[in-house]
């Protein structure tokens, strides 16, 4: 049990009458990279938002790092060690790269409640080190994010997760809006995570990418998990038939 970093049981989220997520049982081991696939509206992002406490779940239990957890908000989840790249980029456009990297966990010269004084120099240096480490290319880190390409922004968001040592990284469609080169760069960052033994939940529609990068594929359909497949024991066609509903794994039959 102890090598399971995250586990959910019966995780459920209803938005009024919409049953966006229904009884999700999911687990991921330390060092493991798992992909979540599924059609648009299948509940993938909803699943992420419940784990990271961006929203409060309707029902279900979550264990993280050996303990049952009930995070009150995203900061608690992050402080516990879950780093997330959300689908709708959680970046502040008007701020520059270090500001965004350290948003919500700034380094201070001295602490004085809300009026704590920022240590810009330290944050800039750590930013440069982290960008260097992840190989992210940014012409000028002092520029506002709004002056950057979609790919550069995404890289900043991902570099943010790599800057802080996390126990689990979650990326929700990190390459959906990127070009070929930018996608390759993001995939490289994911490989560095794998080498460092950091577990990852990757939400993606890109079959090639998923088969290149992860160990296991979990398929969501209409708010429910319908398959849990080891990469070696499945194929792209197989996964597609689970996504579309042509097939349902026997152990998930009641979810079909």
């Amino acid at each position: 049990m102890s090598d399971i970093i995250l586990k959910t049981e019966g995780l459920t989220k209803h938005y009024g009458g919409v049953q966006a997520l229904e009884g999700a049982n999911f687990e991921i081991r330390k060092g493991e990279h798992v992909a979540i696939m599924g059609d648009n509206g299948a509940g993938k992002s909803t699943f992420v938002r419940q784990i990271t406490a961006v929203e409060q779940r309707t029902a279900g239990k979550v264990w993280f790092d050996g303990e049952e957890v009930d995070f009150k908000g995203p900061l608690e989840a992050r402080e516990a060690g879950i780093e997330t790249v959300f689908q709708n980029l959680a970046l502040a456009d008007a701020l520059n790269v270090p500001d965004n990297l350290f948003l919500g966990r700034e380094i201070f010269k001295f602490k004085l409640g809300p009026f704590s004084v920022l240590d810009y120099k330290a944050m800039r240096e750590k930013t440069l080190a982290s960008l260097e480490k992840t190989g992210v290319k940014i012409p000028n880190i002092n520029n506002a994010i709004s002056n950057m390409s979609g790919g550069q922004r995404q890289c900043v968001a991902i570099a943010r997760t790599a800057t802080f040592h996390s126990k689990l990284t979650i990326m929700d469609e990190p390459t959906a809006a990127l070009g070929v080169q930018e996608t390759a760069q993001v995939e490289n960052i994911i490989r560095t995570l794998k080498e460092a033994g950091e577990p990852l939940i990757l939400i993606s529609h890109n079959m090639r990418q998923v088969f290149d990068l992860v160990d296991r594929i979990v398929v969501f359909r209409r708010g429910k998990i319908v398959a849990n497949l080891r990469k070696e024991e499945t194929s792209g066609e197989d996964v597609v038939s689970y996504i579309t509903g042509a097939k349902t794994a026997p152990e998930y039959a009641e979810n079909a």
């Binding site: 456009d93 009026f115 950057m148």
Partner: protein, 358 residues
């Protein structure tokens, strides 16, 4: 700064393409406007706007006019400092002018003396005999506290009751003006103590404004408070996901704005030697105009205290310039209206240009 601090991962960085700070543009606009009044003055009224053309030759500049400009600007400028951070956070504050009115009445009620400067007895103390000749700290603390409460209510309505800032502060605008009128049923409060009168005497309002501007500049630029204020104005959802406690921060932002309005009220009533319920009427719009002229974006996330200070100067120069050109007050009001709309148009145009670039 070494080259590697800019160009990263092999990408070239061209320092020439670095963005000009927007405050510089606002500053150029200030110079341009001053120049325009100088030229118009020499052409149409045969006088210089900026320079001393009188017999006294010891000063180069027309000091009385410049002093009037900065004095006019200082009190509304104090409000504009608070409004600036509110707008940067993605909000708006329509209540600042009315808070000035309410706080002016409340503070001066506690600042009354038993005799006025002509030796006349104060026969009708507002709060009764027991509240005459109180130490200076009392009206100041009571006034600031009243501003704080108004600001906290604004912030709580916006952050927790989720009422749009425009509506919440519009309500506070009406309510606070009501409080101002209710205190004495419209009767001005006079017989103020000398110590109170000294707060806003001479050029003090300007010094107070400058000190507060430096403080607010520091808060917005160098503290977590400031960084998070920009963050929620730029992308509230992102700020929330980054773990910023948006609600508490908003309450703090509006609270600080309320306190700054209260400071303006104390300075203003001290300078005028009276508290009047109509004080600060429409100042909220002047303050917003100063901020917007200074490059603070109504969309949130962008702007600075420095910009607002220059915006305030532009505003003061234009108002004083109209008087200087001996134009009617009506024109001044029309010009104010045009400036506000013009500044917003400029802001939107800037935003569109930004969007088109990325």
């Amino acid at each position: 700064m070494s080259a590697s601090q800019h160009g990263l991962g092999g990408l070239k960085y061209d320092p020439k393409k670095r963005h000009r700070p927007p405050e510089l543009n606002v500053f150029f606009a200030l110079i341009l406007i001053v120049g325009a009044f100088e030229v118009l003055g020499r052409l149409f009224v045969g006088d210089s706007f900026l320079f001393n053309t009188r017999d006294r030759v010891d000063t180069l500049f027309n000091e009385p006019r410049l002093k009037i400009i900065v004095l006019q600007v200082a009190i509304i400028g104090i409000i504009a400092l608070g409004v600036t951070q509110v707008i940067i956070s993605g909000g708006i504050d329509l209540s600042s002018g009315s808070i000035v009115g309410a706080v002016a009445m409340i503070a001066t009620a506690f600042a009354q003396a038993s005799v006025n400067q002509y030796g006349m007895d104060n026969l009708k103390p507002i709060l009764g005999e027991a509240y005459l000749n109180l130490p200076l700290i009392v009206p100041i603390v009571v006034g600031l506290f009243a501003g704080l409460v108004a600001g906290v209510v604004n912030g709580a309505l916006i952050a927790y009751a989720k009422i749009p800032p425009f509506i919440a502060t519009l309500g506070m605008m009406l309510f606070a003006r009501g409080v101002a009128n209710w205190t004495t049923k419209g009767v001005p409060i006079s017989y103020l103590q000398e110590s109170y009168a000294e707060i806003g005497a001479g050029m003090n309002p300007v010094f107070i404004f400058i000190a507060l501007a430096v403080l607010m500049h520091f808060l917005l630029r160098y503290t977590k408070y400031g960084k998070h204020t920009y963050a929620i104005g730029s992308n509230e959802q992102a700020a929330r996901m980054s773990g910023i406690e948006v609600e508490r921060l908003k309450v703090l932002i509006y609270a600080i704005a309320g306190i700054l309005s209260a400071v303006a009220a104390i300075v203003m009533s001290s300078k005028a030697l009276t508290g009047q319920s109509g004080m600060g009427l429409m100042y909220e719009l002047d303050a917003i105009a100063m901020a917007v002229i200074g490059g603070v974006s109504l969309a949130g996330g962008r702007g600075s205290i420095l910009g607002t200070c220059i915006g305030a100067l532009i505003y003061g120069v234009i108002i004083s310039g109209f008087t200087f050109l001996k134009l009617d007050a009506f024109y001044q009001e029309m010009a104010k209206g045009a400036i506000i709309v013009g500044a917003v148009v400029l802001d939107q145009w800037r935003a569109r240009k930004q969007a088109a670039k990325s």
